[in-house]
């Protein structure tokens, strides 16, 4: 975290000097007044104001920097084409010829990237309220994957019903299992539950008796 102590005739002047020196905007810093300072009488006993200016960590900017560094060092032809911020969720959209490599099988590489970015971006953030969530997407991949899982859920539910046997799906991440459970929660023919421990926890689709 970058910080700077600065003095001036008044608190405002000291703050302004510090901000200028750090090269940031006023809303990007926390200001701590160390000494108010006073004019004194006829220049006698005048005391300088002293402030400490701390640049607030900006998780979204950290995430963007790290993501672009990762893409560069991976030496893949993939670029960040869009960044959207909304309610503490930052969504990066990637695009490029090597996007497939970056997404990986069933999105495993994309999910790993997302996990690391979430940890790194929130590292300096001890305050839970200020935590942000990072989503990394590539050319609409997340939506396609969701549709694929929904289709799979319907198909396997039918199979469970027809064969009257439990169907155990592949291990999935929590958000993927949630998609399956949600699709089938009102299905009159099957129940769903999860079994096993992370990271090999699986959804089981079981016919209702």
């Amino acid at each position: 975290m970058r910080e700077l102590e600065q003095t001036g005739k008044t608190v405002e002047e000291a703050t302004e000097k510090a901000i200028l020196e750090l090269g940031v905007n006023e809303d990007e810093v926390d200001i701590e007044i160390l000494e108010e300072g006073s004019r004194g009488i006829f220049g006698l006993g005048a005391k300088q104001a002293r402030v400490k200016v701390v640049v607030k960590s900006n998780p979204s900017a950290v995430a963007e920097k790290v993501l672009s560094d990762i893409l560069t060092s991976m030496n893949l032809d993939v670029k960040i084409i869009d960044k959207k911020e909304e309610n503490n969720i930052v969504r990066f959209c990637l695009s490029g010829d090597s996007l497939g490599i970056l997404i990986g099988r069933h999105g495993r590489t994309l999910d790993s990237l997302q996990l690391l970015l979430n940890i790194i971006a929130n590292k300096e953030n001890k305050d839970k309220k200020e935590r942000i969530r990072i989503v990394v997407d590539g050319e609409g991949y997340r939506e396609r994957r969701e549709q694929t899982l929904q289709g799979l859920a319907e198909k396997m539910a039918r199979k469970a019903y027809e064969t009257k046997k439990n169907i155990v799906l592949e291990p999935m991440l929590p958000y993927e299992r949630r998609i399956i459970h949600t699709v089938l929660q009102d299905n009159p023919y099957v129940n769903t539950y999860s079994q096993g421990d992370e990271p090999v926890r699986r959804v089981v689709i079981s016919p209702r008796k």
């Binding site: 990762i70 060092s73 991976m74 030496n75 893949l76 490599i101 690391l116 992370e198 990271p199």
Partner: protein, 76 residues
């Protein structure tokens, strides 16, 4: 690849200056050894090895183009 892993490890830990990555290159495989400060071990391994697994997945993706097998080992 070494640079990628080094950068990721340094971003995750509290003591980036203690991060060392060494690369042993064979004909078909590369072994990358990551060394971090003892109290940073948890930061690069994570609960049930989630972070370590994520690091391996990303490094492997970076190695796809080179057609080599990469192994990432975390040592103290």
């Amino acid at each position: 690849m070494k640079q990628l892993l080094e950068m990721l490890a340094k971003s995750l830990v509290d003591h980036p200056e203690a991060v060392e990555v060494s690369q042993v290159e064979g004909e078909r495989s590369i072994i990358l050894e990551v060394k971090v400060a003892p109290d940073d071990m948890g930061k690069v391994i994570g609960k049930q090895g989630r972070i370590a697994q994520a690091l391996r997945t990303i490094v492997k993706a970076a190695a796809v183009k080179e057609g080599k097998k990469v192994m990432v080992e975390i040592i103290q």
